[in-house]
Structures are given as structure tokens and as C-alpha cells.
């Protein structure tokens, strides 16, 4: 948690605590849903990453790969961390997150110590309008058609969509499975490695750019965190490489306010037919 008196909404909602029995527990917050009481996959993975960091000699998640075993709702959850090899540079562990009915998320986690050291090579920020020239897509916002759903995720994270990837909202899908937008935590806290994990599953499904709407449940998601992000808005771009046979991938890149690539992810998801 940040070093001030009141934890941020994100820090509180993803907090992991030590139980009397020596294990780890969290209370999954109903306020981070994507509809129908289902919690956002990035939110859940951030909770699991906090558990991995708590049990590691290193403070930051650098690679987390998760299988989404079942949809996860709010309430008390147990986090079981099985440590693997740990060294001076990095440590491995596996994390199971589950409720009364057993595990719902199984994660391979690698922790290390991140810096903001300049890269030898990095993908540049794509050309995108400034935050104020993008479209607010927060809960209840009117993008020109129906309002953005009042789900928790769209209240907790402020989103400004690149108009070039928001045509679907006004009945003119771009024909490309790409989403791009600026995001930040609504509570005003600056991004950290755990928030980057949240942002790695924060945009609307890329299939909406093809005019195929509906929910795309995540099957597996890998997030790499590459550097400590600077304060401010992050630019998030999501792109599918293939949509076929009821499956799609989503490949995210995330840059901080200085234009530095700070995280990447790829997920395999189901596509409603």
C-alpha cells in the first residue's frame, strides 16, 4: 500500500492479508466487476500478484501467467503461494486464488526488482490524440450511441478512447480488432506494477472493432511488467492477431506518461459466436 494514511481504492480492493493460520487472504471487491457479478480478470490477477510479492524477497511482479479456471465473484478468497527457486535477480512461485468452491485462478508468478532505467531498445508510443481529444468511456458516458455500462471496472478506471478505434460505439466498426486509449485509476493514485497488471485487461474486447459484440471470457493471460511507470495517464493498445474457431488473442502494450513501454500482455479468450 502507498505510504499515506488512507489506502487508495485500488490498494484496498487488492489488499492481501496474513491470516492467523499463516496463509494469505483477500476480500474480492464487488466494485470491480465487468457485469453479471463477474470480476475483471486484470483485477483478479493483480490480487494474485500481490500475494506472490508478499511471499517473495523481490517487490515487483515481472511476469505473471494465469489460467482462468472459473468465473470469480466477490467475497472472501484464499491465496495459496507455493514458492519456487529464489535468487538475487528473480524468484518464482505459483499462486492459487480460490473461494469456498475451490480454485478459480492458477498463476505462475515471477518477481524481481524493477527500475525506470532507460531501455536499450523499446517500441515507441503509437501516434494517438492527446487525452483531451479522446472519448471519455467511463461508466454512464455517452459515446454517441448507447451509454457505457455502469459496471465497476468503468467506475474504478477512467478511460479515454482513441476515436480511431471507437467507431463501433456509433455503429461504424473500424473493421480492425484494435482498441487504444488512455487510462488511469479514478482514485487518483499514480500507476504502479500492480495497476499495470489491471490495465493489461482493461479495454473493451478487440472483437468489437469487427462489429462482434458480447463478452469474451479470458482463458489464459500472461502479463510482463517491464519498468516502474511514471505518474500520469498510461496509453494502452490492444490488438488481436487472429480471430478464428471461437477464439481470439489480445496483445496489449502499455506506455507510461513519458512514452516508455512499461508492460505487455497476451491473452487467449473465447469469442461468442
Amino acid at each position: 500500500m502507498p505510504h499515506h494514511d488512507v489506502p487508495s481504492a485500488f490498494a484496498a480492493a487488492t489488499a492481501v492479508t496474513r491470516t492467523e493460520g499463516g496463509g494469505l487472504a483477500a476480500v474480492l471487491d464487488a466494485g470491480w466487476d465487468v457485469g453479471s457479478g463477474i470480476l475483471n480478470g486484470g483485477y483478479l490477477l493483480a490480487v494474485a500478484a500481490r500475494a506472490a510479492a508478499v511471499e517473495s524477497p523481490h517487490p515487483h511482479p515481472v511476469a505473471v501467467s494465469a489460467s482462468y479456471l472459473r468465473a470469480t465473484g466477490p467475497g472472501p478468497a484464499a491465496l495459496t503461494v507455493t514458492p519456487g527457486p529464489a535468487g538475487r535477480t528473480l524468484a518464482h512461485s505459483s499462486v492459487l486464488l480460490g473461494g469456498a468452491d475451490g480454485p478459480t485462478l492458477a498463476v505462475q508468478a515471477t518477481t524481481a526488482t524493477l527500475t525506470d532505467e532507460p531501455p536499450l531498445y523499446a517500441d515507441p508510443l503509437p501516434s494517438v490524440p492527446a487525452v483531451d481529444d479522446c472519448l471519455p468511456a467511463d461508466a454512464g458516458a455517452d459515446l454517441g450511441g448507447r451509454p457505457v455500462p455502469e459496471v465497476g471496472l468503468r467506475k474504478q478506471v477512467q478511460t479515454r478512447l482513441d476515436p480511431a478505434t471507437a467507431g463501433w460505439a456509433v455503429g461504424r466498426p473500424s473493421g480492425e480488432p484494435v482498441m487504444r486509449g488512455w487510462v488511469r485509476l479514478t482514485d487518483g493514485t499514480p500507476p504502479d506494477p500492480f495497476a499495470l497488471i489491471l490495465f493489461a485487461d482493461v479495454l473493451p474486447p478487440t472483437s468489437w472493432g469487427l462489429g462482434r459484440f458480447g463478452w469474451s471470457p479470458t482463458v489464459q493471460l500472461q502479463v510482463l511488467v517491464r519498468a516502474l511507470p511514471a505518474p500520469g495517464w498510461c496509453l494502452v493498445e490492444s490488438r488481436a492477431s487472429e480471430v478464428a474457431g471461437g477464439w481470439l488473442d489480445e496483445n496489449y502494450r502499455i506506455w507510461d506518461a513519458t512514452g516508455r513501454l512499461v508492460a505487455q500482455s497476451r491473452q487467449l479468450a473465447r469469442l461468442p459466436r
Copy 2:
């Protein structure tokens, strides 16, 4: 294994068998090394994927995410599969591969049934010279400088590098962390989903394109298999998005001989300083 009398070298080297105790075992083959007795990460992940498929109602790995806990050498290995939820569309499991000293590879696996159904959307094949106009990079080949090392991987897989990404071999690195080449199994067997997992870690490190040589040990690797590949050469492209702080990512896309995107992967690796 293929349905003919003699299993292919790849099928034999990755075979998983049932032990008398009911568990699964493999004999890791010294002939698939990348030097110093260390086995290739894609080879090891293909063995783990076979174990997941053996214990699943579905025949094909569609997503496998692995933490490389320790370098793995040849010899007998145990495979411990913990089944997760299994349904009509997909099944989850986790797989531990290990030898006498404990687990060396921890994998989240998702299996399903792949087809070669045409995609709704797919990344096209990049522009690349034909196989015969690319540079042979098999064990012992002379690329214009020192010969390709006589390691097992370069004997088991035939590689034809795109000259545009092979400048490093003649002292003129392109300055871009990109590798591209055609690959196929030397034993002549057509590619299958398990071979695609092997191909997702088969090219020289992309850091060589920046003139930074040396071995880049894989930390975590996620492979998505998207379709059944057609027979023939596969085109493999590997690209780093960021090289910083002693880490690099490698993002692979693999197309089959018909130009269909059939697999993708991303790994986080260490970069020797």
C-alpha cells in the same frame, strides 16, 4: 505419435509414457540441447504439453504458460499433471516437469480441439524471401562468419534465415531485435501443435540483431496454438518490444506453408550484460 511404424525423432524425443505407478514419465533427449548440456525451452514445453494432452479429454494444447525454474538437462523426468476444470470446449491443468532434484518447469496448460477452419481475421504473412533464397542456419553451416554451433537443436530443426535479419552473422547487425526464418523438423515429419510449441523458441535470440551476443535464458514463456498447421515449412518471426535492465521480451508469430497464422508466443528472458 504419428500413425506409422517408426515414430519421428521429434515424437520419440517428446514421448510421454504411463508408469507402473500410474504417473507420467519422459526421457529427455540430450540431442535437443542449445549448448552446455542445457535443453531447449521449446522442446521441454512440448514434452509438458504432451503430458497435459494425455490427461485431457481434448487432444491439442491451445495455451501453455511456463516458468523455467532451473536449467534442465537430459535424462529421466517425471511429469505431474493436476487436472483443473474440464468442459466440452476446453480443459485446464497444471503440469510440473522435474528430475531427481525437483521441478524444473511449471506449466499452466489449456487443451481443446483445434481445426484448420479459416479465420475471420488474421495477421498476414510478412514479406519474406522464398525458402531457397534464405540462408541455411543448420548445425555447422557457414553464414559468412563463424559456423553455426553444432548443438542438438540446430540438427533437429532445419532453419533458413531471412537475410534481412541475419546481418549479425557477418558482423553487420541490423540494429533491430528481429529474427525471421523458415523452419521444419529435420526428420521430415509435418508440423503439428506440439512442433509449433517447439518452434516458438527456436530462433537465435533477437538481441543478436542489436549486436549483443550470448545466451538469453527464458524466464517465462506463453505459447498459443491457434490452428492445425498445413504440411511444409513454417515461417517464424521473433521480435523484441523492449530490451532494458537486463531483460528482454520475445514475441513470436508462426505461419504455416499456406500463410495461415497458426501460433504465437511471448517470453520474458534475461539478457547477459
